[in-house]
């Protein structure tokens, strides 16, 4: 008995601090935000008192506002679209890269992985600002593109402050989050399976499509979740590199808290965003599992 009590104590000593941290800095703030979404904005920003004239002031006004104005729904849809595009381009770029790293000589792999995570060594905002220079109107890239366009008799286009700039930077920033889980998966593949597939008559494409790709799906899902969810809530990149049309839901939320100072509405947007991200991730996981099952039985 004493031993078991001791083991229990040890378990709580180990898992207690991180649990406490999550409760204080994640669970409680989330509850505060949920509560704030039902309150009334204060006259000069922030929140109006919770209890006024002996009455509890809780209402659904901010939720009603979200539904009454189509512009917010449009921004939500646009944000999901940008996040999906980012996930797709990251996957298209990261897959060959991860495969290359996983198949390269063991002594080169660490170096290649290091190169993938090297950008993390400089600040996120600095890297975003760097894109301003790369895409700027006087930079070599814009000049080259526009001189080619001019040759075809096309008007020059600005690269900076555009959806293009936002997407390029979104993909750039999130690429490592796709590469790492994909690499971790691909690196563990049993190469004997590819030999077996080849022996059984599969050509290079069939070996990839029938063996490597289906076995890598857990890595694809993990990478997609790690890219899609942060990309959905991002605000710095559209702020710095986007045009006026490129405001995403993250920008609107930031605006509600810092500029308009409408905390209840900002809270509503945040809650809807969180729930939407969870739903989409859950849906993707469910769909993926079902799809994987079907592939297995049909194969």
């Amino acid at each position: 008995m004493a031993a078991r009590r001791g083991a229990n104590l040890g378990k709580w000593l180990v898992s207690g601090p991180p649990l406490l941290y999550l409760v204080v800095f994640f669970a409680i703030p989330t509850l505060i935000m949920v509560l704030a979404s039902f309150r009334t904005p204060g006259e000069f920003g922030g929140l109006a008192p919770l209890v006024e004239d002996g009455k509890l002031d809780l209402n659904l006004d901010s939720y009603a506002r979200l539904l009454s104005d189509a512009v917010y729904v449009q921004i939500f849809i646009k944000s999901v679209w940008y996040a999906l595009l980012t996930t797709l381009f990251c996957l298209l770029l990261a897959y060959p890269l991860s495969l290359l790293i996983a198949q390269s000589a063991r002594r080169h792999r660490d170096l290649l992985l290091l190169l993938v995570i090297l950008p993390f060594w400089s600040n996120f905002l600095i890297r975003v600002y760097a894109w301003m220079i790369i895409l700027g109107p006087n930079a070599a890239l814009a000049r080259t593109v526009n001189s080619v366009l001019a040759w075809f008799g096309h008007e020059p286009v600005p690269l900076l402050f555009s959806s293009f700039a936002v997407l390029v930077c979104l993909v750039y920033v999130h690429l490592p989050f796709m590469v790492l889980p994909l690499y971790a998966n691909l690196e563990k593949h049993d190469l004997a399976l590819l030999d077996a597939a080849q022996d059984l008559g599969a050509n290079a494409w069939q070996r990839f499509w029938r063996i490597t790709f289906p076995l890598s799906l857990p890595g694809v899902y993990a990478g997609a979740a790690l890219v899609f969810i942060p990309a959905l809530g991002i605000f710095a990149i559209p702020d710095i590199l986007g045009g006026p049309e490129d405001s995403l839901i993250g920008n609107v939320i930031k605006q509600q808290f810092l500029e308009t100072r409408d905390w209840p509405f900002g809270s509503v947007l945040s809650i809807v965003l969180t729930v939407a991200a969870l739903l989409l991730a859950g849906l993707a996981a469910w769909f993926g599992r079902r799809n994987l099952g079907a592939r297995q039985t049909n194969a």
């Binding site: 077996a196 059984l200 599969a202 289906p214 297995q296």
Partner: protein
């Protein structure tokens, strides 16, 4: 002409010659085994037949056609891998259907062929299972069924039973023999296990250091090894070395160090003085109480130094008066046994001239 002609095949890795000028002809319908210790080149040779590796010299012809230009996926040859290499994300059916799909078999024909393959390897009813739900022996059967479903010309098996426990291995050996008879496909089997090779094969090529030491039927390889290596590698063998003392009609006498003259039947006519060996299987040695009179050509006195009781047989290690160690094997069945010996007992060991096998050097 043989079905599979391996001619002067050589494969080098840097300065190491893994396969050295190997020539083997394998007939259609044969169960052929490449036997040898690890590193002898047998797996490299198998991979060259499958197409995963290419010879540096020589040629491999199947039905008269040179395979050199064909990648593995286009050779009418299938491999059963040591690790089974079943596709973990596909069911048993999916695994077996895979080569059919690669061969563009009409989808409507696939289920019947898969069922037939499952029946061949006695896995009917297991089609919907995933590899991780199968035992080692069942995985092995799936791997074999998957390799056979397209009726390849040659089936290559790379130590397929190595991962199974002894009892299951024996069962699978019998099944392999029956299966091979049933389907009539040529099997090329790689193993380092000599009992497995003897049990399964029509013919065996014993390989050592990239070369074929001896190529023959199992009973010939066992009874008439043509080198010290083969004698030592196949089963247990007493090897008696020494210079040739005398050559008579049908027998050779060797002066074995420490033991004296030993006579062995041989049609060889070596020159006197040349070193040679006699390979003497433990079960060919008779062992009797020290007082027994024995008329056999070769008899020596000694004492039991060790014994291993193995249930059906007992292995005796006998040290002769001159210190030479011999291994003798006696069946424990009542009929063949008059006496059990203990460690330290004085015994007489003897064997007739035709018990040993003469190996010239």
């Amino acid at each position: 002409m043989a079905l599979l002609e391996i001619q002067n095949v050589t494969r080098r890795f840097g300065t190491f010659t893994a396969v050295d000028q190997v020539s083997i002809s394998i007939e259609a319908g044969e169960f052929f085994t490449l036997l040898g210790p690890s590193g002898c080149g047998k797996t490299t040779l198998l991979r060259m037949i499958a197409g995963f590796d290419l010879p540096d010299g020589g040629s491999i012809r199947l039905n008269g056609e040179d395979l050199a230009g064909l990648p593995p996926e286009r050779r009418p040859v299938r491999t059963v891998f040591q690790s089974y290499a079943l596709f973990p994300h596909m069911t048993v059916e999916g695994n077996i259907a895979f080569p059919l799909q690669m061969a563009k078999t009409p989808a409507s024909d696939i289920p019947a062929k898969v069922d037939a393959a499952l029946e061949d390897v006695r896995l009917t009813g297991f089609g919907k299972r995933y590899p991780h739900e199968l035992s080692g022996g069942q995985k092995q059967r799936v791997a074999i069924g998957r390799a056979l479903v397209t009726h390849p010309t040659v089936l290559l098996l790379d130590e397929p039973l190595a991962a199974l426990d002894a009892k299951l291995r024996e069962e699978m050996q019998i099944e392999l023999i029956n299966l091979q008879k049933e389907v009539g496909i040529t099997f090329v089997y790689v193993t380092h296990d000599q009992t497995e090779a003897l049990a399964l094969s029509h013919r065996i090529a014993v390989m050592n250091k990239g070369r074929v030491e001896q190529l023959d039927e199992p009973s010939k390889i066992y009874s008439f090894p043509n080198s010290r290596f083969v004698a030592d590698f196949i089963g247990t063998c007493n090897l008696l070395d020494g210079p040739v003392l005398k050559v008579d009609e049908g027998t050779v006498t060797i002066d074995v160090g420490g033991l004296g003259p030993v006579r062995v039947a041989s049609s060889d006519r070596p020159t006197a003085g040349q070193t040679a060996s006699i390979a003497l299987r433990p079960e060919k040695i008779r062992i009797a109480g020290a007082a027994a009179q024995d008329a056999a050509a070769n008899h020596f006195r000694g004492s039991v130094t060790d014994l291993l009781y193995l249930g059906d047989v007992t292995v005796y290690k006998v040290s002769t008066e001159s210190g030479t160690k011999l291994e003798a094997l006696l069946a424990n069945s009542a009929a063949g046994r008059t006496k059990f010996f203990e460690i330290g007992d004085a015994v007489a060991v003897s064997w007739p001239v035709d018990a040993g096998h003469f190996i010239p050097r």
